[in-house]
Symmetry: C2
Subunit: 422 residues, 2 copies
Amino acid sequence: MKEIGIGIIGLGTVGSGVWEIIRQKGKELLARSDVELQVLRVCDKDSTRKEALGISGSIFTDSWEKVVRDPRVSIVVELIGGMHPAKEIITSALQEGKYIVTANKALLAACGEELLGKGEIFFEASVMGGVPVVKTIKEGLVANRIEKILGVINGTANYILTSMEKGSDYKEALQEAQEKGFAEADPTLDVEGWDSAYKLSILAYLSFGVWIKPEDMLVEGISKLMPGDIEYARQLGYTVKLLAIGKKKGDLLELRVHPALLPLSHSLSGVKGEFNALFIKGDEVGEITLQGKGAGSRPTASAVVSDLVEAALFNLKGTTHAILPPSASLRLADAQNLPLRYYIRFTALDKPGVLSRIAGVLGEKGISIASVVQIERKEGEAVPIIMMTHEARERNLKEALSEIDKLSIIKKETLFIRVENF
Amino acid sequence: MKEIGIGIIGLGTVGSGVWEIIRQKGKELLARSDVELQVLRVCDKDSTRKEALGISGSIFTDSWEKVVRDPRVSIVVELIGGMHPAKEIITSALQEGKYIVTANKALLAACGEELLGKGEIFFEASVMGGVPVVKTIKEGLVANRIEKILGVINGTANYILTSMEKGSDYKEALQEAQEKGFAEADPTLDVEGWDSAYKLSILAYLSFGVWIKPEDMLVEGISKLMPGDIEYARQLGYTVKLLAIGKKKGDLLELRVHPALLPLSHSLSGVKGEFNALFIKGDEVGEITLQGKGAGSRPTASAVVSDLVEAALFNLKGTTHAILPPSASLRLADAQNLPLRYYIRFTALDKPGVLSRIAGVLGEKGISIASVVQIERKEGEAVPIIMMTHEARERNLKEALSEIDKLSIIKKETLFIRVENF
């Protein structure tokens, strides 16, 4: 077992989530990584937050310097966001030889090249919350030259565009997003494309190896769009998305953020609401798409904790990830006994009374019918009868079908397909 | 710079791809990982393959024992598949203290628990080809308890079901898949669900920590389905997919592979043809989906090489992944000069001659019109006119729109949206 000291700076939505995950799941993380994450310092300007989170006064401070200078702290988690004092915190901590875990996309987009030159910074949480896009490009696709990236990477803008697809105008959609917590009181960074541009800057570094600042890119937002545009686009075979686009053609790099018409057949066109997705084209792997929630307390904290484990393993060297050992009592469910819904295709003679005989046998076995469709009519001949059931046990279903298939009105073995409602 | 000796056993479609990637991209991999992968031994039963791939006789052998016993080889890449002699190769190599990289899903499903207890085995390539699902679950989602996994993880079956959606019957669809190289001459393992079950066994280990053998799961294939089933399901609001399902509810684990009705609104219902996708629900991150090609020479080799870099870094300790340095000549493209297509919304008076004046200005700037739609008609009033252009330079477009917006027939600033055709 190896212990590693951690300091968390910033107890906003993400910082609180990180504190809670480590507190609730310390044992599981230890089992999966052989590393014990010990939170030795927590810093926030607002000392009232410590009570709500059950943080003891002995580790709480309102001075980030105390975290950065604590020799027992090996990893500093910067979660205050913005340029200052985030940059000073990271610079000081790197000078002290500490590792950094951060979700600060604006700072990385502005100063990533400078900061990454000074030490080890882990930043999975800076792009698409808990969806491991940084790890995927950096490690999973290490054998690939990335040719294109295409991202729906701002949940606020995508939520608004999805509402506009349903007919809301821009102002209504924005207000709805604000009410549901998907847009901030000042939504400028999100709706005008800057948040996407910060993330594109980081993705372009990972994919193409260069740092390009957002102000050098083409960046446009969605505030001028009308619901009509989205409807006309749909009639033409397109959706409208706020896209972050990176393409490398020879020595020429295209980096742009703007609303775009995307063919309805494209895998990103189905990304709705607050979801994010990134489409990546690599020369070996072809096209891959990663999708998930790009923001929120726990999804983003999930990425921070993944980086914390990564940083701890890297710091302590020579260890790797393990798989969580299961609880001793975990056992495989009996598939014959699960409550599932079923699609059933009977092939039966088309004559009066057939349905009641089938339904009678099903009823005896406790299987109730949700709907019946008989599509073709050919009196006196065999036709398909389609039934959807309510939840039933497969054992009972099979017994019922075995009886039904013995009836003279059934002309072919009955087929059933299980329904998955996720 | 650190060198690491590699032995490749098996020069089939994946093995050839691995050899070619290392040969073609050795320098880039070195730049990204600070590790030089040196292929010191290559083994295949068929010695004619070495000529086609330009492998020198000095490193080629038809004896796997020579690879496993070579003290200069630190990592053995097993790519022959099947149970024997793959199991003997891996067991011997682990005994020699070597690391293993493998794509052998059948062997892992049968003997994963035994083999992983004996040493370090990297197996990203065993599930979903180049899509990093193993890394995602093991590392990216380390902070999560996985609640559900749902996968379309057999490209052959999905290709057939996609053809059946278009009306082919099962036999026609299978034959088409075989002709296109998406199905093998004996497709049993793929269409009867066993290949998915092997992968589900590995995914369940990663997600839930237990090894369950495929023969203990519910496994059913797609060969009994008719095109009618898929059509009826669609009318009921569902697609039919061959799903691999894992769910943990308390101490009860469900593992099943079978055709299932999945709501059309689910993110997996849009996975078409030979594509694979995995939906994962974690308690912190929520729902994430990974999609890509699950098979093929280079996509699978992409995952093998990613594992090779991982294994090399782990073996050599204390190093991590880096970002590829860009070529010195890489530069940002001028966004005003890209050839893009545009959607344009004019707000113009509805009267004769308006279109020809707009088209005239566009024509002067070299912008040609692909289509025009005027949806509303209100003579003498301002209505939207929607135009799609052929490829044009944004600089020219902006000049044209600036002139057009000065015309008295234009009643509102014209809006354009760029079209992305990926």
